[in-house]
Point group: C2
Chain length 139, copies 2
Amino acid sequence: MKNQGEDILKNSALSVTASRKRILEIFLSADNALAHQDIETKCAEQYDRVTIYRTLQTFLEKGIIHNIPSTDNMVRYALCNETCITSGHHHDNHVHFKCDNCGKTVCLDDVNIPAVNLPKGYTMKEINMVVNGTCKSCK
Amino acid sequence: MKNQGEDILKNSALSVTASRKRILEIFLSADNALAHQDIETKCAEQYDRVTIYRTLQTFLEKGIIHNIPSTDNMVRYALCNETCITSGHHHDNHVHFKCDNCGKTVCLDDVNIPAVNLPKGYTMKEINMVVNGTCKSCK
DNA sequence: TTAAGAATGCAACTTTGTTGCAAAAGTATT
DNA sequence: AATACTTTTGCAACAAAGTTGCATTCTTAA
Ligand SMILES: [Mn+2]
Ligand SMILES: [Mn+2]
Ligand SMILES: [Zn+2]
Ligand SMILES: [Zn+2]
């Protein structure tokens, strides 16, 4: 195995390009979820803004990353676990945490979203839970 | 009581202006959460875009409306219940539902967000839950 | 009615996101 | 290794979303 990013791309039947490898590398070495802006900052001199948009879109569709909702108009992205990548669709059922202090958003991979009962007539397809507060680094 | 919107403004110690009354009216008569864009569509000929931004911001701070996170870069807003308005900060603990079919986002006022256990070191301040699927009108 | 303070509209600007198309790079085949 | 085919990229041009400062207008309270 030469390169983890390369493997992910091949497993998802995507062609291996420099920008895709670089963006995956950024995700793989990040300890928190990233907004488009974050990625742009890390590689805008190398790759076009449009390419980053398109790459994130592709990664989402292939189940390589998932997006995390927010109230600040900054959708953030994080790597999915193996299951999403191999099955081609999302199986993310974990809670997300956004720290009000350091601003970082993280996946709490071990915290499952609890079940919720919807009123009659509503059908659930996907569920998202985002907790705000103070993270363990900032407490 | 001449006007419900006027009352809300007075209770929040806000001056009563035409644009604020109009925007409140829009919320009061809406059956779903509204994005900035939705409000703009309903009153852009009357009021400036900037005024709408500032009004929503003010309403948020006063606990008149709350915002609903999303993965589509369209934060939506809905009226808070009395408790938020009178106490000046948010007490919204209900689940939100976004229909993939009609696109509407609604407050499920009767569905409380279930408790969740965070890992050691994390402190919760706020919690958001958004469910996607098919709503009762679209089923 | 008036004076002080707050909200609004406007202009100018920045940031974010989208689209079409030609050039470049990647992949599969010989 | 060269080829042909397909996909991805960069660029340009644009559209949409959001921000800021400031002069004018509106609200409120005295
Ligand atoms: Mn996650
Ligand atoms: Mn709500
Ligand atoms: Zn933190
Ligand atoms: Zn619906």
